[in-house]
Amino acid sequence: MKTVIELENISKVYGNVTALNLINLNILEGEVFSLLGPNGSGKTTLLKIMACIEKPTSGEMCFNGVKVDEGNINDVRLKTTMVFQKTALFNTSVYKNIAYGLQLRGYSKREIDEKVKEVLKTVRLEGYEKRPAKKLSGGEQQRVALARALALDTDVLLLDEPTANIDPKNISIIEEVLSRFNKERKTTMVIATHNMFQAETLTNRVALLLGGKIAQIGSPQEILKGPSTDLASFARLENVFSGNSKILQEGTSVIEVNDGIEIEAALRKSGKVTVFVRPEDIIVSKKTVPSSARNVFKGKIVEVSDFGPVVKLRVDAGKEFVVQITKRSFVEMQLNVGSTVFLTFKASSVHLI
């Protein structure tokens, strides 16, 4: 597959702070690539360098095999576009917001009218042309920003946390649009996110960015499924527990985490350990269910987050657990904040960090 963006030894230093440290990365044509990392890991800076709106302190970037420099930077900018995390809109109508980039590219009024109409339909905001962009809801504003980027039909679409701080309904619309656009137009996309679920469902490859360095790179399965020290240091990793581990006669270990909670793990390690359990590996039930799973906890749902086809529950069971179940199960079980539930997971689902 052809390489669209090639980053070689890219570093970015602000005063005494190194935001990016010797990044080497290839973005392939037509792929959806995610930059996964906690806040402050350098994701936005890296995206801005790819968008040619930030210059690296050292290193070089090639676009379609050509080195980006002062002479061709404006041409490269016309082939990429970026959607910002904090929705940035011009203080004018939705139409003029979307038309701006098209006018810079010399489209006629008729072509602009058609394109605006088409992209607004894509993001399900038909008829919004005349509305003042800044008076829309947060989710709608982000959809306008996405429509504005899609209208340009660039080779590369860079998205900085495109679904942060917006409601689940708008999140699912944006994710669906991105997924469809990539399939239909084969647009190369780079998505910066701290949401592991998004990285897993939307993308072909993931780079784990920590402290300005690429810690790991691979398929979502390789990065997210296996135990990894790097992944553990990612601040948003859920269900991370530390405690004293004792090896049992059966060969497994029991880890005593705080507040008298004990987790059984299929490991042979004693002493201080840190483990994690993936949210989708935990079974939720309203009653205890007989099973081979070694860990069962009773708790109360304290928070529900809707992610379209799946729902994430935050359950207080002495320790806080994050659990991921399908929307259908959530509805059928008639769960809500305050519901009492049992959490069940196997000892082999407990991964050592």
Binding site: T81, M82, F84, Y100
Partner: protein, 231 residues
């Protein structure tokens, strides 16, 4: 005394409503001179404010501080400096501008430049810095992105221009020093009000003061209404 004031107001309204030629001539000249001065200050103030608001360079802070400090310049002092420049013995005395409308225009323009520059700079700085990046990522060049930021700050820019005009038309010190209040040539609203009051011609002074207040108020309200309709 009370009756004299009431009489003054009645006669003033009569002067305005009858379209008194002196009142109309002085008002027209004031608007023309102050509009020209405002245009001149925008002509050189807008590029300076754009650079101060959009670029980061060594000495920027000092330059901004200078324009902010000049907001409070004593107008008589500025008038005296300009008088010395324009007088026959001064460096540009050969242009024979003293006591002419162009001298008032230049004087007012210099006086209001700190308002134009400081207010427009603030308006540009208040725009989200991501707007410039946004324009660039949509394909704009450096200059096109700067124009996009200026467009975003248009409300603030219009407000700065309005404030500059209001300051210019209300100015007395500089105008008196370099214009001299020559009847039918350099007399404007403020200088005529000051001198006619001293002469006891109170009704003309009140009529001109009402017109001055009307110009300033109507302009400010109109700008406000236009901006409200735009957003």
């Amino acid at each position: 005394m009370g009756n004299e004031i009431i009489d003054g107001f009645i006669k003033a309204f009569q002067l305005i409503l009858s379209g008194d030629p002196t009142v109309m001539e002085i008002s027209g000249r004031s608007i023309l001179i102050s509009s020209s001065a405002t245009m001149l200050s925008v002509l050189w103030g807008l590029p300076v404010a754009s650079i101060l608001g959009l670029k980061r360079f060594r000495g920027r802070f000092l330059l901004k501080g200078f324009f902010n400090a000049m907001l409070g310049i004593p107008t008589v002092a500025l008038g005296l400096i300009l008088y010395l420049f324009f007088s026959n013995a001064g460096p540009i005395g050969f242009l024979h501008l003293l006591y002419s409308p162009p001298a008032i225009i230049i004087g007012q323009a210099i006086l209001i430049t700190p308002i134009t520059v400081s207010f427009i700079t603030s308006a540009i700085e208040s725009i989200d810095p991501e707007i410039k990046d946004l324009a660039k990522t949509l394909g704009a060049s450096e200059i096109e992105a700067s124009i996009a930021v200026l467009k975003e700050s248009m409300n603030g820019v219009v407000l700065a221009i309005t404030a500059s005009f209001n300051r210019a038309i209300a100015e007395l010190g500089v105008v008196l020093m370099v214009g001299g209040n020559i009847a039918g040539f350099t007399s404007v609203l403020t200088t005529t009000i000051a001198l006619e009051t001293n002469k006891g011609n109170i009704e003309l002074s009140i009529a001109l003061a009402i017109i001055l207040l009307l110009i300033v108020s109507v302009l400010s309200i109109s700008i406000n209404l236009i901006q409200r309709r735009r957003t």
